[in-house]
């Protein structure tokens, strides 16, 4: 159980710590990389099959597609292959989270990165979500919402057991705060 904590905290920061705002302490489960890869490969494969199929039909019925159409298809295929390869590890390095007694802070993204911070006293709901594929990887996501539609904070792909504990902790902390959090 304590393993994730040590792992998360002892790992050397993959990106240089930004000035002003220290990055959150913990990383998500390393199995997230595998999960994100599979989850990205499936739609990529479907689109790739559709594109290739479309071009084959084009070739058979209309003759050879013009050069720019081929280049375009090539580019699309390259993106479809590169995305599942490159995105998951980058995303894993970027995605970090930390919960203190008073606030929750996450960082997420891969090309565009966003950091989200909310005081726990303003938290309204704590949800966890586990899709079928996530269950296979023993992962769960946790979303904390505030009274603002712009403010949901998600920790993606935590270890399922850890997610459960975190939900309990957060519910206890937020249940104790007064007011209607607006």
């Amino acid at each position: 159980m304590g393993a994730w904590k040590t792992r998360g905290m002892t790992q050397a920061p993959a990106t240089p710590p930004p000035a002003g705002l220290r990055e959150p302490a913990h990383q998500v489960s390393p199995r997230a990389v595998g999960y994100w890869r599979i989850a990205a490969t499936i739609p990529s494969a479907v689109v790739a099959v559709l594109v290739v199929g479309g071009y084959v039909v084009w070739w058979l019925t209309e003759g050879r597609p013009s050069w720019w159409a081929l280049v375009l298809a090539g580019l699309v295929l390259v993106v479809l292959v590169v995305y599942p390869v490159v995105m998951p590890p980058v995303r894993y390095r970027v995605h970090r989270w930390e919960v203190t007694d008073t606030a929750i802070h996450t960082r997420a993204g891969w090309i565009t990165i966003s950091s989200r911070i909310a005081p726990l006293s303003r938290v309204q709901t704590v949800d966890s979500r586990q899709g079928a594929l996530m269950r296979l990887f023993r992962l769960a996501s946790l979303t904390v919402t505030t009274a603002s539609a712009a403010g949901p904070i998600t920790i993606d792909c935590l270890d399922a057991e850890q997610a459960r504990e975190l939900v309990a902790t957060l519910t206890a902390i937020t249940g104790a705060s007064e007011g209607d959090a607006t």
């Binding site: 606030a103 966003s114 911070i117 209607d180």
Partner: protein
């Protein structure tokens, strides 16, 4: 006085009360109205196919409308218990909506022309949750007023306004201790409509949608008009083109403008007739409307800020629009409290609502040369996108006459325009922070200035795109439950964004800034 009577009525024992019996007149008419368009379309469709209608079609429509009107009246009930306002509806699926009395944030009354003829009003009760407003349609006007006074009074007893809340720091005109007093303080008038403001009506394009809808409707029915066939049209066209083209264009233009002014002014009068914005009992009250009178109350502790909007056209003539950002007042939470009116009026009322002058006019801290560069790049990219798009018809459709000059023209005309827009947009970009409020300036087409109470900020989102990271900039979003639920500060230097967030909400970022 009518308040007292209403209060007695609503404080009667906790039995379910029906809506006003006059609803039996109101609902069928309304239902008929809703049914009218689809029914007419269906009937026209039927009659076009066979000749003549089936004899039963008319009674079916009428009976249906009546049934839809009577059922809600029979099945809807409401009551006030010691702690809750409850409403139940439904014949098969009974739903009961409840609102804890101390959570009632706003009670709005609305009366359409039909309501007013029958002496009824629609009551909407808002709690902290934006989407769930409990609607009573309809109760008698006296009872509605009583209900409102009762609910708002209860709310005041339950939630005394926190001492030192910013709206209490007043301009010293006598109502400074407003929310704390138990006796109903006299209402203070903040603004009333001035008909010289009508000059701003044509410059506010909100009603253009209406006009477009009208034109669309005409277009749809136009096909069935007898004189709109090809022969007549070509005749007409020949007749028109026998005049000089510029004359035709001028006539069309003038006619369009006159129509627009007419629609805009009429709309303005209908919407803002007898507009009064008052403050009393810890709430802001807005009443307005020629046919449908709306009466909106927002509890002042729920008002988290104001927004001053100056769309391009309105800015040209020195006008603006003012809205409050509040929680629990229906979708969006942005309530327009003034019609398009002179900017100084907006600023004055805004200052009154905020409780301290200057935030709407103060100079803002600019975001620096890099933000300016990004503003220019963003606008220039938009133009290039448009240019690329204009290449498409040339390549794909092989429209020879269009030629390659189209993308070139887009670039030549667009780039200088983009530079102007970018510069103007940067000029108004900025922020200011005082101990209680965050002020943000933002401009694209409309110039916006948003003032948000820092107490109302419930989180931060700091977003950095790849390009922004290279420049050390970030978009900072303050999330809030009020208004549009977020306030964006675009392209702030990253460190300054963090310092700003840390200062505005002390303690939240501490764990990560130390």
């Amino acid at each position: 006085m009518s308040d007292d009577r209403g209060r007695q009525q609503v404080e009667e024992p906790e039995e379910w009360q029906r809506l006003d019996p006059r609803n039996l007149l109101l609902d069928p008419v309304k239902a008929l109205g809703q049914f009218l368009v689809p029914a007419v379309i269906a009937l026209v469709g039927l009659s076009a196919r066979n000749d003549g209608l089936p004899w039963w079609s008319l009674p079916v429509v009428v009976l249906g409308a009546i049934a839809f009107g009577v059922l809600p009246w029979l099945t809807t009930g409401w009551r006030i218990t010691d702690t809750q306002f409850q409403k139940r509806t439904g014949l098969l699926n009974r739903t009961t909506s409840t609102a804890p009395l101390d959570r009632v944030r706003s009670v709005d009354l609305e009366a359409s022309l039909l309501h007013r003829v029958l002496g009824l009003a629609k009551v909407q009760i808002g709690t902290g949750v934006d989407d769930d407003r409990i609607t009573l349609d309809a109760v008698s006007r006296e009872r509605a007023a009583g209900l409102r006074a009762h609910l708002l009074a209860r709310r005041q007893v339950a939630v005394p306004a926190p001492a030192g809340a910013p709206h209490e720091l007043d301009d010293g005109s006598g109502e400074a201790n407003g929310p704390a007093v138990s006796a109903p303080a006299p209402e203070t008038l903040l603004a009333a409509v001035d008909w010289s403001w009508l000059r701003f009506a044509p410059f506010s394009l909100g009603r253009l949608v209406l006009l477009a809808g009208l034109v669309g409707l005409l277009g749809q029915f136009g096909e069935d008009l007898p004189f709109l066939d090809e022969e007549h049209l070509t005749d007409g066209w020949r007749w028109v083109t026998s005049f000089a083209v510029w004359l035709v264009a001028a006539v069309v233009l003038v006619a369009g403008l006159v129509l627009w002014v007419l629609v805009a002014v009429t709309g303005y009068v209908v919407q803002w007739w007898d507009m009064r914005l008052t403050r009393g009992q810890g709430s802001l009250h807005l009443t307005a409307g020629l046919f449908t009178t709306r009466s909106i109350s927002v509890e002042e502790t729920r008002v988290r800020g104001v927004e001053l909007r100056e769309p391009v056209l309105l800015r040209l003539v020195g006008g603006g629009e003012l809205s409050t950002l509040a929680t629990g007042v229906g979708s969006e939470g942005v309530t327009r409290i003034l019609p398009p009116c002179p900017r100084p009026v907006c600023v004055g009322v805004g200052d009154d609502v905020l409780g301290a002058p200057g935030r709407l006019t103060t100079d803002l801290t600019p975001h620096g040369p890099l933000a300016r560069r990004r503003s220019h790049v963003r606008q220039a990219l938009t133009v290039l996108d448009l240019a690329l798009l204009s290449v498409l018809p040339v390549v794909l459709l092989d429209v020879a006459w269009l030629g390659w000059w189209l993308p070139v023209a887009v670039v030549v005309v667009g780039l200088p325009l983009a530079a102007v827009v970018a510069e103007a947009s940067y000029r108004h970009l900025g922020h200011a922070l005082d101990p209680t409020h965050l002020t943000v300036g933002h401009a694209q087409v409309a110039r916006l200035r948003t003032v948000l109470e820092t107490d109302g900020i419930i989180g931060w989102v700091l977003t950095e795109s790849w390009f922004q990271r290279r420049l050390g900039l970030a978009d900072l979003v303050a999330t809030t439950a009020a208004g549009a639920e977020k306030v964006l500060l675009r392209d702030v230097p990253r460190d300054r964004a963090i310092a700003l967030a840390d200062t505005a909400t002390p303690g939240v970022l501490t764990a990560w800034t130390a």
